[in-house]
Amino acid sequence: MSGRNPTYTNPEPCKHLADYKLKYGFSGYNSLQKSLNTNPNGRTAMNRSQSNIPRCSFCSAHQGRLYFCLICSSVSCCLVPDSNHALLHSQTEIGHEIAVDMERAELFCCVCCDQVYDPDFDKAVMFKKILEMPRNNNGAEVCKEKCNKRRKVIPKSLKDYMNVNDLVLKMGREPNSCFPWGLRGLSNLGNTCFMNSVLQALLHAPPLRNYFLTDRHRCRTSRKSLLDKPCLRCDINDIFSAVYSGVPSPFSPARFLYSWWRHSPNLASYEQQDAHEFFISMLDQIHEKEEQTRSPLKDNSDCQCIAHMVFSGVLRSDVTCTTCGFTSTTYDPCVDIPLDLDPSDHFSKNVTGKSTNPSEEEDISTLGGCLDLFTRPEKLDSDLKLYCQQCQVRRDFVKQMSIRRLPLVLCFHIKRFEHSPIRKMSKKIDRFLQFPFTFDMTPYLSSSIVRNRFENRIFAFEGDESDISTEFEVFAVVTHSGKLESGHYVTYLRLRNQWYKCDDAWITQVSDRVVRASQGYLIYYVQKMP
């Protein structure tokens, strides 16, 4: 009934657990179900009777770890090294080896003196939870038979765009230098480095590059005269052709600038602009053009235009009542992930194993740290209590973001430009951000975040199965140096495992460390193909 769960491994049971399962099957788990209780935080424990405190049958201790025997229901304590009555119990009663931690609803092997795991036990716990939960399952969509209909399959055409091999054949000629295809400077037309830097990144985004270089854009715009707006996609197509032509002298994207200004009049001015704003504007323009030729779709997440097929992902937002656990979930499409550079982000460790993080000593921000911050449960302002459907009153809520669907190309937008409407000033945050060259997005997926909310129980949560791999590789870094008002954008491109610096018209080779030490503003990762 469950889909595949690639994110975790089913642990091997110890000999004692295996023996227990053979002998007793699920009977112990099922009879335990009625004694389990879940609090609004998602933690499960055995019921605490108001009148009867559980005490160790050997020493009457009521503190520390208490274990409930699955076979005879007796309680023993485990306060190693002082007393290990759980072990004693297993020695006095032969075969009574498996018990349950009363405070945490975890299986314990008294002989191995270790916590053990069984998917069937977790399933039993989850079923009890689901029975107790309000209608909406506190945000956990559990996998039922028909969960496949929600699964988004990558269209075959898009998979083709990831395959570079036939592209080389189509181009039919060898590059006339030892450098890879597509390296060409872009002339600065007057404060246009913000545009050049993003263009360089997009020119090398594999699916986008393959789309334009294989002539997928069939222009349906009939330009009745020169007076009509030029087709922006045609102009983008022209840039691709020019940059991949093999000509080494810098290219002036003048026609494209003119085209873009005609399509986005509010951004048309001779001044330094934000590269991210340009990126969004470009995607919007490519999308809009597509919408005119096809019927408009309801939401961007299913949009078939090349911009959205490549960059669009889906973000999930869960808002949970802190009193009853009722969760309301919304999904929103996104073309990039905005990340705040919080100086104290290394303090926001959740318990996903970041125990001895070396960056702690140095106090540097990392991409993983920023994503932890992004997906951290955030208590909403107490002054703005929201209405809870279940409690029927206004309560405090907690909000948590996660990534429901990853795009093919992931763009991280590091929010370095801070605008304070109160003080009417803007400033730039120069703080260094460490970013890895390969990156696994698994911990930030909705399935991981939601699973974590449910004690990481072994259970099929929706969103586990996916066609997209979670491993990503960096291919372009747009960096900004200088001040807010007067700065310069430069892009680093990674081609054939070598980094190139694209500084307007100047293309130079640089080492890995220059890129690692640079100040990333827009960092582009592409999904690693198996």
Partner: protein
């Protein structure tokens, strides 16, 4: 400060320490249990890879900061990978799509801004004699693109009929500086 009070105080503090210790232990075991589960189920992140990336990054910053290592000269004066050098201001010359004049690449954006009538400076200039100019050109609005006026003017007028661009822009052709 009598003796019985002292005893009470220490008994109190002992009791509260005892409870606190119990609570603390419980929390520690909570965290340990979670981490244990995460580790056993393989949910923990690949720490070795992360540490390696972090180490490479720290190393990189140290080496880049060291001036003796810097091969990164001011790139405006270096030779690119194809062996070319370029002037600080791009000097390729091409025709403006809007007015047809020959413009130098590095000065294209400021030219285009005035040419298309965008930007603050352009708009300020038009207010000077926009009324007079509008009167002069109002007759021309009904004329086709290829009017008897000089080429650059006519193209500019027709082209600027896009939404959001006002009639003041018609004046740009006459007042535009080279």
């Amino acid at each position: 400060m009598s003796a019985p009070n002292d005893d009470n105080a220490s008994a109190h503090s002992q009791l509260s320490s005892h409870f606190f210790a119990g609570l603390l232990d419980s929390i520690i075991v909570d965290v340990a249990s979670e981490c244990h589960r995460i580790a056993r189920l393989g949910l923990d992140r690949n720490l070795e890879e992360e540490e390696e990336e972090l180490r490479l990054s720290t190393q990189a910053r140290v080496m880049v900061a060291d001036p003796s290592n810097s091969g990164e000269a001011n790139s405006k004066y270096v030779v690119d990978i194809f062996g070319q050098t370029h002037p600080a201001i791009a000097n390729e010359i091409f025709d403006c799509m809007n007015c047809g004049r020959a413009i130098m690449a590095g000065r294209f954006a400021p030219h285009l801004e005035k040419c298309m009538g965008k930007g603050r400076k352009a708009r300020l200039k038009t207010t000077r004699s926009s009324t007079a100019a509008q009167n002069r050109y109002s007759r021309s609005s009904s004329v086709s693109a290829y009017s008897p006026y000089s080429n650059s003017h006519s193209v500019n007028q027709a082209v600027n009929g896009t939404p959001g661009v006002t009639g003041e822009d018609y004046t740009e052709c006459t007042f535009e500086e080279t």
